[in-house]
């Protein structure tokens, strides 16, 4: 294959991003908006199968491998780069835009990687670009959070690399195909993937890092890293049972922690973990319907989560506040932001006529088809919980509840346009799911809009809403954070190390002085006997020598006679 389809489409964004610092504002705007669209066109130029082979050492790399799954994720990543770029255009720092385009490009690079070495190259680039994206908020918190983010992702990358190397040693092949977690190599690869997905026990990096990004930065961050992980899990570990258990943990972890959270963007960060949990369950079930559901849900999720974060980002940008305790009543002066936020909230809750409804329901349906009763009941409870923690809680505490007295206007035009674009997409996909269904990895034989399903979903969600307002006194916001597993490395770890250092220091000092004391005694003794005045080393006068010899000889003589 030659020509345009032989170029990894992600590379266009990665290389194009380098031009941003060199160009003036107009050209830069054209690049930020044009490059993603061009990439989208490239994505759709790639035919099925291998488009590019590159020999490397004794292996054959496949930097461009196309099929419906990679095109689906490539498409939504490109769309997201465009929408996020539009949102960020006027006020994001240039570093942030560069980092955002590179992360989008490397995410697309992963989705078209046909071999594991290409995959890890783009994978690591994504981690680095995301860290830069975090750092470009230029605050002390973002600097520290970025460092913690980097440490976790470098750890994940290292696990993945070791896994890949042992996998290649085991099988002799670098091709990225479906695996089963049976050998240590594949467990390591799975662990590397799962760290990026925000799976337990290391899910805390996500709500720790993302909310420290700039108002526009978090929109980009939410889209690429976790969904790239969903993509590689879809391709690499379909039907792996462990994903169901991890997914369920993530669903309820996200709900409970979001319910306890006060920071609006952290609420949304927890709900990313929650939504990725649904996708992991879909991958773990492993049927065509559930895999389609996970893929479709990733597609819808990227768009509505971006919309929610744009809405939250607009609020943060206009008010400088992110805690629910400081916000409230903003619907009066930011009606468009509020409406877009509500559309995003309805979509994430899978309300009929929104994108979440037509995608998430495929996963529950697949659980029912496989007669996985416990899973089905938990997924249904989870769906109710999504409405609780993100569907109502986010818009209620930010735009309604008590009036905080702030009256900022809606954000600038480009931000409003980006929100409108995403809101339109959420509803369009919800009303007309056929185009999305057509690009899913497997043929779709699923009808979301049946009377029983619509009524059932409305009941589930509206009664969850009732529960929210009844339980409202219990949900009062407080100035708190909630401890997570990251307590182990943010609190316990540093203290344990400090304590260990102190103990070791003391022990060192004690043992050192003890040793020195012993040494001193030893040398003292030696000195006493062997020193310049020591009895054994002293210089003797010749006279006293002669005297002693005479005395000895005298004793000898006397002894001889007797």
């Amino acid at each position: 294959m030659t020509g345009i389809s032989a170029m990894p489409p992600g590379l266009l964004l990665v290389l194009g991003a380098m031009l941003l610092p060199l160009s003036g504002p107009r050209v830069r705007a054209a690049l930020v908006l044009g490059l993603p669209l061009l990439t989208l066109a490239l994505v759709w130029q790639i035919p099925d199968g291998v488009s590019l082979r590159v020999p490397f050492l004794e292996y054959e790399l496949v930097p461009v491998y196309g099929d419906s799954l990679s095109r689906l994720f490539g498409t939504v990543f490109a769309i997201m780069a465009f929408a996020g770029g539009l949102f960020a255009l006027n006020h994001a720092r240039i570093t942030e835009l560069v980092a955002a385009l590179i992360s989008a490009g490397s995410a697309i690079g992963v989705t078209f990687a046909g071999d594991l070495l290409t995959l890890i190259a783009f994978w690591e680039l994504l981690a680095i670009a995301s860290t830069l994206l975090l750092w470009s908020a230029m605050t002390e918190q973002s600097c520290r959070a970025g460092m913690r983010y980097l440490i976790i992702h470098v750890l994940g990358g290292a696990l993945l690399m070791v896994g890949i190397v042992s996998h290649v040693a085991d099988t002799g092949s670098v091709t990225f195909t479906a695996m089963t977690p049976h050998s240590p190599a594949q467990w390591l690869i799975l662990a590397g993937f799962l760290i990026n997905a925000g799976a337990p026990p290391l899910s805390a990096w996500l709500p720790d890092a993302y909310p420290e990004a700039s108002p526009t930065g978090m929109v980009f961050l939410s889209a690429f890293t976790t969904k790239t992980a969903v993509y590689v899990l879809l391709r690499g570990f379909p039907g792996a049972d462990i994903l169901i258990y991890l997914g369920l943990y993530m669903i309820f972890y996200g709900i409970v922690y979001a319910l306890l959270e006060n920071d609006m963007r952290r609420i949304l960060a927890y709900s990313i973990v929650n939504q990725v949990g649904f996708m992991l369950c879909g991958i773990g079930i492993g049927t065509e319907l559930s895999m389609n559901g996970a893929a479709a849900h990733a597609f819808s999720h990227i768009i509505y989560k971006a919309l929610l974060l744009m809405s939250a980002g607009s609020v943060l940008y206009m008010t400088g506040k992110r805690k629910c305790t400081d916000l409230g009543g903003l619907f009066q002066s930011m009606p468009l932001t509020a409406i877009c936020g509500i559309i995003g909230a309805l979509s994430i809750s899978a309300f009929p006529l929104t994108s979440g409804f037509i995608s998430k329901s495929m996963i529950s349906q697949a659980a029912a088809d496989e007669t996985m009763a416990v899973l089905w009941f938990l997924l249904t409870a989870g769906s109710a919980g999504v409405f609780l923690h993100a569907g109502i809680k986010f818009p209620w505490f930010v735009f309604f509840q008590k009036d905080a007295g702030m009256r900022p206007p809606d954000p600038p035009l480009n931000m409003r346009l980006a929100m409108l674009l995403c809101a339109f997409a959420c509803i369009a996909i919800g009303i007309w799911p056929a185009p999305l269904y057509a690009i899913l990895p497997f043929p779709v034989d699923y009808i979301p809009y049946t009377p029983a399903h619509v009524i059932g979903m409305l009941q589930l969600l509206l009664f969850s809403g009732l529960a929210f307002f009844i339980m409202l006194p219990y949900l009062k916001r407080t100035l708190t954070i909630t401890l997570d597993w990251d307590w182990l490395y943010r609190w316990l770890g540093p203290r344990a190390i400090r304590l260990a250092t102190r103990v070791l220091d003391r022990w060192h000092l004690q043992s050192r002085s003890g040793f020195l004391r012993h040494l001193a005694t030893l040398f003292g003794t030696l000195f006493l006997y062997h020193g310049p005045r020591g009895i054994l080393a002293r210089t003797w006068a010749t006279g006293s020598m002669v005297l002693w010899v005479v005395i000895l000889l005298g004793i000898y003589l006397v002894a001889y006679y007797y």
Partner: protein, 80 residues
């Protein structure tokens, strides 16, 4: 400051009435649709309504309990 029409007590009362009416309607609609029952209990009357309601109450209570254990001041990690 003049109160926005949406937050006046009258409007809020009206919204509650509409909300409860819609809730009742969705439950009544169950009479006319065939309930899918994959696992028996999910075919019970208005299953989604009571199941959604109860599981949400449950989740809030669990969150509340966990909060007692895990809540810290939001400056907790800033001390270092």
């Amino acid at each position: 400051m003049k109160q926005h029409w949406l937050v006046r007590p009258g409007t809020i009362r009206l919204l509650w009435i509409i909300f409860l009416l819609v809730l009742a309607l969705t439950v009544l609609a169950n009479l006319f649709t065939e309930a899918h029952a994959w696992f028996r209990i999910d075919g019970s009357f208005a299953f989604n309504a009571w199941y959604g309601f109860l599981s949400c109450i449950g989740m809030v209570l669990v969150a509340k309990l966990l909060g007692r254990l895990l809540h810290r001041k939001d400056s907790y990690y800033d001390r270092d």
